[in-house]
Every structure is written in C-alpha cells, then in structure tokens.
C-alpha cells in the first residue's frame, strides 16, 4: 500500500507569520482527501508544500518512505498532478498540447502523446475535435475539464487540486464534482483537494482535514466529523443544519439492494433474451467469470442487433455507473436522479457485482419512512426523502 506521510510540516513566512503549524497527516493510496478551512487557514499553503510550489520551513513529507523534501522539485512536480482554481491553460497552445504538457516535458514520443490526448478527452465527455481548439474557444467548465486531464496525462498517482471548481457556476461545478469522483474511483487516484465549501468536501472526500489558523483541528471521515465535531469551531464551521441531518440512522445501499440478474460475458444473445423473459427484467448485468461487473445489456441495446450479432460480448454497453458497497443511500439516490438512471448496480472492493438499487427500491424506502413509522425523530429523514420522491416522480 502506497502512503503519503506528512510529519510536523511547517511553513513560516518571512516576518514570522506562521502559515502552517506542525501539520501531521497520513494519507492512504486511493483516498480522496479534502483540506477545508476559512481563508488564511493555511490550507492552500499546506497543499502547495506537497509539490514544493512553496518550500516547507521544516518537517518531513515521505511517499512510501521516500523523502519528498530532498527530491528535485521539478522532478517531483512532474510526478504529481496539479489543478488550480484559475485553470491556467496555456492560451497559445492547442487543447492537445495543453493536455500533454507534462508528457512533453518528460519527452514522450509524439505517437504516445497523441494517443494519450485522444484517450483522455473521452474521459471527460468532450469530442475529439476539441483537441485542435485553443483554450479561449472553450467555456470555463470545459477548460477546467482540460485542466483536470492535464493533471492526469503522465499517469500521476497523486493529484493536488486547489479549489478547482471555485470559479465555476453551481450547475457546472456539480457536474464536474461527479466527474472527478468518478475518475478518481475508476483510475484509483489519490486526490488531495482544497476547498472552503463544506458541501463539496462532504460530497467528495473520504476524509476531511479541517484547518484553522495553520493548525489541523480535525482529520476524519465526513460521517465522523458530522457526528462528533472536535470543538465549537468545527461545529460552527460545518453548520448546525448539517449536524441535524446527520442524526437519524444513515442507511447504506447494502440494506436496500436486491439481487441483480446477471449474465456472463461469453453467453449467446438467445440465452440472454431467454433469461430476461424468464426473470421478467429489461436489464441484465454483464459479468466476467469472477462475477466482476463489465457492463450491462438492456432491451434497447439489442433491438436490431440480433441478426448480425450472436454473443453478449459483441453488444453490451461498457459504460455503466455503479456505487461501492457500504456507500450511503443518499449518494446513490442522487446519482440515479442526476444521471437519470433506471437503477444502479452495487459492487464490492474487487469490483464484483453484489447488488442492485432500483427506483422502485427507493420508493419503497421513502414510503416506509413516511408512513411506515410515525415517530417524530424519523420524520426528519422522511421529509428529505419525500423531496427526493417528488423529484423522482417528476424526473
């Protein structure tokens, strides 16, 4: 397991101002960490010390035992992705050159760079033709997508983000948040993220580091922070409305998921259709021999295709949204609504298909919480649920 270990990291500016005071953090591989705090709390300075854009005054940073403060700063920065609030794309370079800026510095071959650019731009749902555009021809949200790709292009494992969505409008920000979370989980990147938006931190981060006046106040999962704020400052910072929300028992997807109907990839289409008819479903999840989720097959995907194609492997949809086992039901509901999905599969750590949450499931839960139990306490959650229900019905 790779790990980033930060010990007593301190930054004192000339004139004696202490920006970051003895920061201690252990970050695991694949974690999504958010640094949060008011302005002047030292969160950005702390982040910029990690790629030595700001030189630490004292302290140690080690990645798998390797001391980052002794590395060449330029080499270090080429190995760590970096996304900034102002986006900072090179206005005189095409999108292709912007994406492959770090590979360019690392002197990759032209073919490898072009291939990387083509592969990456698909990751953020932009057309290939954009590769020849200049940044000024793209909207702010599109530019920041390219900004994110630039941080991924050289296969960096760790990506630092300094309020990357701060300058975007709320709708674009929301889409990009989903996108980045999805990319992070799919590519298993470690992301360290600075924000001053608590909602953003709760939505994205596995663990949140709350900073105040250069000191780390609390470092824990969003749930633990909401359940047990370390002190009054944290309580005030996260806001009383969020604390109340958190009190009722949070349901996870595991409690509500049903058994999905799946088919292995090597089966024929005839078998797939027969299975659908037999189980009376319109979607089959496609798995490999080890029950790992590969994609899905629905009625639409093989109307017309049946004459020419014979096996499942030829016509299943590879792009499938999923949630991890153990994630909060609230989050999956949000995904279902936002993506306008009929259902969302649940996978375990090894990407094995373990369950399925459908819209019908969610309606059942909402029904239970509103009418199934008349207790006062639960009705708080019920209200939230009924909001979702309205959206669910109208959406």
């Amino acid at each position: 397991m790779r790990m980033l270990k930060i010990e007593n990291l301190t930054k004192v500016y000339r004139g004696g101002k202490v920006a970051v005071d003895k920061l201690n953090l252990d970050i695991q591989e694949g974690e999504f960490i958010a640094f949060i705090g008011t302005s002047g709390s030292g969160k950005t300075t702390a982040l910029r010390m990690l790629n030595r854009m700001v030189e630490p005054s004292s302290g140690k940073m080690t990645l798998n035992g390797k001391d980052l403060t002794k590395m060449n700063a330029v080499t270090l920065r080429r190995s760590i992705g970096y996304v900034i609030q102002q986006i900072g794309l090179m206005p005189h370079m095409t999108i292709r050159d912007n994406i492959t800026l770090v590979p360019q510095l690392l002197k990759w071959s032209k073919e490898k760079k072009d291939e990387t650019a083509r592969r990456l731009i698909e990751l953020v749902n932009l057309p290939q033709s954009y590769l020849d555009y200049y940044p000024a021809q793209l909207s702010g949200g599109q530019q920041q997508r390219i900004g994110v790709l630039r941080a991924l292009a050289a296969n960096q494992d760790i990506i630092l983000m300094d309020e990357p969505f701060g300058a975007l409008d709320p709708i674009t920000r929301d889409t990009l948040q989903d996108l980045i979370k999805d990319i992070q989980q799919r590519l298993k990147k470690t992301i360290i993220f600075v924000t001053h938006d608590m909602d953003e931190a709760i939505k994205l981060a596995d663990r949140i580091a709350i900073m105040h006046e250069g000191k780390l106040i609390q470092f824990d999962t969003p749930d633990n922070i909401l359940a047990a704020p370390a002190n009054d400052f944290v309580k005030e910072f996260i806001g009383s409305h969020r604390l109340i929300q958190q009190k009722p028992n949070v349901k996870t997807v595991d409690e509500v998921m049903i058994k999905p109907i799946s088919i292995t990839i090597e089966k024929s289409l005839d078998e797939a259709i027969r299975l659908m008819v037999e189980k009376r479903v319109d979607t089959l999840f496609v798995t490999d021999g080890d029950n790992r989720l590969q994609g899905y097959l629905d009625v639409e995907s093989f109307t017309g295709a049946r004459k020419t194609k014979k096996s499942v492997s030829e016509c299943y949809e590879k792009e499938v949204f999923y949630v991890k086992t153990g994630s909060k039901l609230q989050d999956s509901v949000r995904r279902i609504l936002k993506r306008n999905l009929k259902n969302i599969p649940v996978v375990d750590e090894e990407h094995r298909l373990v369950g399925l949450v459908t819209r019908a499931n969610i309606v059942d839960i909402v029904y239970d919480t509103i009418w199934g139990d008349e207790e006062q306490e639960v009705s708080v959650e019920g209200q939230i649920g009924s909001e979702d229900l309205k959206e669910l019905i109208s959406g």
């Binding site: 790629n51 102002q86 206005p91 510095l105």
Partner: protein
C-alpha cells in the same frame, strides 16, 4: 538640356529621381541598414535585459530610469557626445540608434512578461517546468507580440535618427536632404531625400504591425474561430 528653373517642383523631383535613381536607392539601403543594425543590437541587449528585470523587480526601476534618461537627450547632442569617442561615420550613428532603441525594447519586454496572467506561469511551474522552460515555453511566446511592438516603435524612431546621422558623415537619405537645404531652390532635392525616409518609416511600421498581429495568441485564435464558423 532642359531649363531647370522653368520646371515645377514635381517635375524637378521626378527629374532628380530619374537622373539619380541609383544613388537614391543606394542611400535608401544604407539608411535602412544603419537603422536595422542599431535596432537589432538593441534587441540583442534589450530583450535579455527586459527579461532579467522582469524577474528581479528591484532592478527594473534603475534600468528603466536609465533608459528614460537616455531618451531625454536630444539626438543631435547624443550623437555629438558619442562622436568625441567614436569619431565620424556610420559606427557612431549605429551606436546612437542603439541607445535610443533600448528604452522601447526593454520596457516592452518587461511589460510583456510582467502582464502575463500569473496563473499561467504558476500552472507551468506546477506542471514541472524549469525556470528556463517557463521562459521559452510560456513567457516569451505570450509576450512576443508586445516585444515586437517595442521593436516597431524603435525602428520608426531609428529611421528618423539615422537621417540626422548624415551630419556626422554616415551617409543615408539624410545626405540628400542636407544637399537640398544647401542648394538654392533645393525643394525637389529635399523631397527626394525626405519622401523615401517617410516611406521607409511607414512601410516598416506596417510590416512589423502585421507580424505583431500574427504573433498575438489572442488575435490568432479569433481568426481561427471565424474560420471555423
């Protein structure tokens, strides 16, 4: 032989060009080369100096004030002072042009680099560019059009100064103008020197203006956008 006194100024001018066309052309070339040498020399020194002071803010005041002071000395006076050291001839004029070109070139390089959006250079550094790479991959390409503007201003001024240079025997179109002022009814000869000088200044301005627009990343993109629409 025609009677010169009976001709109008225009006719006299055309007659002079007809008779001395080759001579005027040679002086034109001389004039142009003196200006170009001076400006190129200034660019060679001025651009690195401009880059340097954009990195070390404290130096910028000293250097720009110094260049400003040079600019306030009248051209004829500066040439006279330099003549004491360098003697008569082309070299002195080239050095004078060099001094006058320094200010616009240094200042435009400085302004071009310091006005680049800081987030762009910050991103460049964050991606792992060395200082030199930031300079030649980001800062110089983005400030090139502003630097060319400086060279354009310098060249136009230089063409004017070179005309005065004829007083210390550098040749050039100034020679023809001085000959005209010395001759009785020399208007046509003055024009034969002055018009090509003006033409040279205007042409250099236009040509460098085109180059400048070509190199401006923002304008270049607008062109691309209109092309794709």
């Amino acid at each position: 032989m025609q009677d010169m006194t009976q001709m109008s100024t225009t006719e006299q001018f055309l007659f002079y060009i007809q008779e001395n066309g080759w001579y005027v052309f040679n002086q034109f070339l001389d004039h142009f080369l003196i200006s170009i040498y001076g400006v190129l020399l200034a660019a060679l020194i001025g651009i690195p100096l401009g880059v340097l002071i954009s990195k070390y803010g404290k130096l910028s005041n000293v250097v720009i004030t110094l260049a400003n002071i040079i600019q306030t000395i009248p051209a004829l006076a500066l040439m006279a002072i330099l003549m004491l050291v360098l003697g008569l001839g082309k070299t002195t004029v080239i050095v004078t042009v060099f001094f006058y070109s320094l200010l616009p070139i240094i200042k435009n390089t400085y302004v071009g680099i310091t006005t680049i959006n800081k987030s762009v250079t910050d991103a460049g550094r964050g991606m792992g560019m060395t200082k030199i790479q930031v300079l030649y991959m980001v800062e110089l390409p983005l400030s090139l059009s502003v630097i060319i503007t400086g060279i354009r201003i310098a060249l136009v001024v230089a063409i004017g100064i070179t005309a005065i240079g004829a007083f210390i025997g550098a040749g050039g179109l100034g020679d023809i103008i001085i000959r005209g002022t010395n001759a009785t009814d020399g208007t046509a000869i003055i024009l034969a020197g002055a018009l090509p000088t003006a033409l040279m200044a205007i042409l250099s301005d236009i040509i460098l203006g085109i180059i400048e627009r070509r190199l401006d990343p923002v304008k270049r993109q607008q062109k691309r956008i209109s092309a794709t629409v």
